[in-house]
């Protein structure tokens, strides 16, 4: 299967281990990722927070570039990118006027004919195949699957999984042999980019999430978004400082867990780049 790949800015920087693990896992599952040549930033958050039309035109441009490739699907692993690309697609489908406005802005033609998908969506449609390829099941680890906001909401845009009680990541993790915990904060917001201008708020939000996961008995939290990852991973030190509670819960990308289960050496999955060391977990240390 060949798909157009939209890594997005974060995956080249703060979310680099997501990019690394995505590529490894897709190789193992014979998904041919072809990066969209010349893609530009999706404009996440800042564009839509300040300029509605711009926030649609930027992702639409990258989609227009992808239309030149021989593919039907565009994959954006980053939840924010997925969300913005999907906004351009759905709002243009729902409103011809919007579509025409965007088309006029773009220097190249855009037919809006590609399907935008996230990786969970793709993987959850090949669970059987994945199960059969799992060589190193992680049976001795309890995971809290954290979906965050942007994969699921707003539902009329994302059109993916149940926005209040999503299950795709849980199913995927179970296919990797892991145990998943039932917990209450799997779709609560981490505060996203407020982490820079208002770290205090993000500390508050991530504290609740980490606390809920820990209470539910999770050894680690699995995410599908570089924002979520950054906040949950990097803010644990601040939480320790301000709230006096040290969680030390490793935060992993779902692709990293999947990679380990598929037998990819942990070294090749960027596991050493997290701030909270995942090798604190005996289940990972042994590999």
């Amino acid at each position: 299967m060949k798909v157009a790949y939209f890594p997005g800015c974060s995956l080249h920087s703060t979310g680099i281990e997501f990019d690394i693990s995505v590529r490894e896992v897709c190789k193992a599952l014979e998904i041919d990722l072809e990066e969209i040549e010349g893609w530009v930033c999706c404009g996440a958050t800042s564009a839509h927070a300040t300029n509605h039309l711009l926030s649609l035109a930027m992702p639409a441009y990258s989609l227009a570039l992808a239309e030149r490739m021989d593919v039907q699907d565009v994959v954006a692993p980053c939840a924010a990118c997925f969300n913005r690309l999907k906004h351009a697609v759905v709002l243009s489908q729902q409103n011809e006027e919007t579509y025409n406005k965007i088309k006029e802005l773009l220097p190249i033609p855009w037919e809006n004919k590609l399907r935008v998908r996230n990786l969970l969506d793709i993987f959850s449609n090949m669970l059987e195949e994945i199960s059969s390829k799992v060589t190193k099941p992680l049976s001795d680890i309890k995971l809290a699957c954290y979906y965050g906001c942007l994969l699921l909401r707003p539902p009329h845009i994302c059109q993916f999984d149940n926005p209040e009680n999503p299950q795709t990541m849980d199913e995927l993790m179970k296919a990797c042999g892991a145990q998943v915990v039932d917990w209450a904060f799997k779709t609560e917001c981490c505060g996203a980019n407020l982490t820079i201008p208002r770290p205090d708020l993000v500390v508050e939000l991530t504290y609740r999430i980490l606390k809920s996961a820990k209470t539910a008995g999770a050894d680690a939290i699995v995410t599908a978004c570089p924002f979520c990852h950054l906040n949950l991973d990097a803010r644990q030190a601040d939480i320790h400082k301000t709230k006096g509670e040290l969680f030390n819960i490793p935060i992993l990308y779902f692709t990293q867990i999947l990679g380990i289960a598929l037998g990819v050496p942990p070294k090749k999955l960027g596991l050493t780049r997290h701030l909270v060391d995942p090798f604190l977990l005996p289940a990972l240390r042994r590999r």
Binding site: C9, S10, H12, S13, T14, G15, I16, E17, G38, W39, V40, C41, G43, T45, S46, A47, H48, A49, T50, N51, H52, L54, S55, A57, M58, Y61, L65, N95, L105, L106, P107, C149, L152, R153, P154, P155, H156, P163, E164, T187, E188, C189, G191, A192, N193, L194, I196, P197, R198, P199, L201, E204, L205, A234, A237, D238, T272, R273, H274, L275
Partner: protein, 179 residues
């Protein structure tokens, strides 16, 4: 006491930008109930909707419109199917356009700098963008330990990566009147 003169200019502006009709709101409060950040907001989401309905432009200088993280919990649960997160976006857009002095100046600053860097390079150069933001918001020493750790783990790329199509982004920004 508020001398109330209802005015639908603001409601119409919002509708023009994002297509949402704030007049539909019947004030059940489910948005406020759902919002993970309502504890930090000076005006709660349902009150934002109310002010927008009546055309009270003070809403544009609230902290709420900037603190909203666009998580869309409100939108997913609104019984009247109003996309409240789009209303928040629209209010921010209006506030910027009208140069309303924001109660949370660092957040719009963050967005502005973000967009500028993306305009230059076509992609976001996180390190450069954050450095500029820190300088201009005078929060230079915040998060410095975290930043160093991230840098050491190769999570902050020292060199900007540029899209060959940065010129297109610049033009898009120009055409859409991005400041």
């Amino acid at each position: 006491m508020l001398d109330l003169v209802a005015d639908d200019t603001l409601a119409n502006q919002i509708k023009e930008i994002c297509g949402e009709d704030v007049r539909k709101c019947y004030q059940c409060g489910k948005c406020t109930a759902s919002c993970p950040l309502s504890f930090a907001m000076d005006i709660k989401p349902n009150q934002v909707m109310r002010m927008a309905q009546l055309g009270l432009r003070d809403v544009l200088s609230s902290s709420t419109i900037w603190i909203c993280a666009s998580c869309a919990s409100c939108t997913a649960r609104c019984p009247l199917d109003i996309r409240i997160s789009y209303v928040m976006d629209a209010l921010r857009e209006i506030a910027l356009k009208e140069d309303v002095s924001p109660k949370e100046p660092n957040i719009p600053l963050f967005h502005k700098i973000f967009c500028r860097w993306v305009g230059w390079l076509g992609k976001l150069y996180e390190l450069g963008f954050i450095m500029e933001y820190k300088l201009r918001s005078r929060q230079l020493f915040n998060d410095i330990a975290m930043g160093i750790k991230m840098f050491l783990r190769g999570k902050l790329n020292p060199f900007p990566s540029t899209s060959p199509n940065s010129e297109v982004v610049r033009q898009l920004m120009e055409k859409t009147g991005q400041k």
